[in-house]
């Protein structure tokens, strides 16, 4: 029950990151602070990844923040039942503005490509290395945050013991 509620709290924060809004580090820290001592491995990993993403949103350059927003849109769009309109064209110039502030619910189930994710944030759709740059940055912050919060080496698997 507790985990369910925490997950919904985190999703609200993910939503704001997907919208390209800044999330104060303190807000995520509050979520981390609610982790009970015997919280599951998945809960811990999810919290710390959110913390890492929030750090980029707060401290990253404008370009890196945009990459973060695009990456989150890309990843979260690949969740839920596929529900992609046949005429969806995010990269069409006229359509771009309406995606600027789109949130989690707008993207779930759309299964967008990386170029589409970049278009949605007004970026260059051919900038493929942006995803790699973002991943490297996010991974680095994830490892740092894990070590800071738990004082141990960051796990390499999401599911404990897999």
């Amino acid at each position: 029950m507790m985990e369910k509620s925490l997950r919904e709290d985190r999703l609200a924060l993910w939503d704001r990151l997907i919208r390209g809004e800044a999330v104060e580090r303190a807000e995520v820290e509050r979520v981390v602070a609610t982790l009970i001592p015997d919280a599951s491995h998945e809960e811990r990993v999810s919290c710390i990844l959110l913390l890492a993403a929030a750090r980029i949103a707060c401290e990253g350059s404008r370009a890196m923040r945009r990459k973060l927003t695009a990456a989150l849109r890309y990843w979260f769009s690949h969740t839920g039942s596929k529900n992609r309109p046949s005429d969806l064209d995010i990269c069409k110039a006229r359509e771009r503005s309406k995606w600027r502030n789109a949130g989690l619910l707008d993207f779930m189930g759309l299964y967008i490509s990386w170029p589409e994710a970049m278009c949605s944030v007004g970026g260059n759709p051919k900038y493929y290395t942006a995803l790699t740059e973002l991943k490297n940055n996010l991974k680095r912050k994830y490892i740092e945050e894990w070590e800071r919060v738990f004082g141990s080496q960051a796990p390499s698997n999401f599911t404990h013991g897999r």
């Binding site: 999810s46 990843w75 979260f76 839920g80 991943k135 490892i143």
Partner: protein
């Protein structure tokens, strides 16, 4: 150690975990959905709403269907606005003044507000939805249908979906639609409505016309009946529109609704004859 090449799969696992479905006992009210669609949702409610919907496929589907219905409504209305035929139509049919003026006023409110206030538009559409059932049924019964069957089918689906959605709105609507305060409808008014409705070929606009009429008379379409698949009924000796309405709905003033289902063949001024076949809404199981 987390390898670079594994990190994307790692993030995907986290994202899948975060958005995995949760069985919910409670769901957001329809008003919250409207507020979300209108972009007028309070930040704290928005957070809870997103958290809930991201983990509730049922509510996501509901939001999607409302979005599509709203989009379709707005598109239809915008198209009609460009044509401007309906405004002219109402303007040209001001006689008798009372009915024409009321319709004009009601429709002006609907049109102006709908364009700028999606939530209100959708809420209003819930009032309209019940009338749309009749409006769709009537042209189907009339034989030649000017609007395309696809359009009608689309409207019917919306009506069906919206009827389910709006059942929660009964309380919200009660001030508007309360069958205890029905303003009686005269056969003359119905004849006029029928003539006016015949001239409106678009089922949606016909729905608006009938909705405004019913709304003005504070007539609420009773729940528990399938209006789109009416059944045939053979009139027995001594039965009247009002008598049937009382027997069927417990309120004789709702005879208007039964008559609307039969508006093709019968005049509201004519008494029912024994053996005559009419249509009645089918009670839902």
């Amino acid at each position: 150690m987390l390898r670079d090449e594994d990190f994307e799969a790692f993030v995907s696992d986290v994202v899948a975990y975060e958005t995995a479905s949760i069985p919910h006992n409670q769901h957001p009210s329809l008003e919250v959905f409207f507020a979300q669609l209108a972009g007028e949702i309070a930040p704290d409610i928005q957070s809870r709403f997103v958290g809930h919907l991201a983990t509730c496929p049922e509510c996501r589907a509901r939001l999607q269907s409302l979005k599509e219905a709203l989009h379709e409504e707005e598109r239809g209305l915008n198209e009609q606005k460009r044509v401007a035929g309906f405004g002219d139509f109402i303007h040209a049919h001001q006689e008798p003044a009372s009915l024409g003026a009321r319709l004009r006023k009601g429709l002006r409110d609907l049109f102006v507000r709908r364009e700028f206030r999606p939530a209100l538009a959708l809420a209003l559409s819930s009032v309209v939805a019940v009338a749309l059932t009749l409006a769709v049924a009537v042209p189907l019964l009339r034989g030649p249908v000017i609007a395309t069957s696809a359009r009608i089918s689309s409207v019917r689906d919306q009506v069906r979906a919206l009827q389910g959605q709006v059942s929660n709105l009964t309380q919200w609507q009660s001030g508007v639609l309360n069958n205890s305060t029905i303003i009686g409808v005269s056969p003359e008014e119905l004849t006029l409505l029928s003539k006016d409705a015949e001239k409106v070929t678009d089922p949606w606009l016909r729905g608006l016309l009938i909705a405004v009429f019913l709304n003005e008379h504070k007539i609420r379409v009773p729940e528990g009946f399938d209006w789109q698949h009416p059944k045939k009924y053979s009139v027995r000796s001594g039965e009247t529109w009002k008598g049937l309405s009382f027997a069927y709905f417990g309120n004789e003033e709702l005879w208007v609704l039964i008559w609307l289902l039969n508006a093709v063949k019968l005049s509201p001024n004519e008494p029912l004859a024994p053996g005559q076949e009419i249509l009645l809404p089918t009670p839902l199981e």
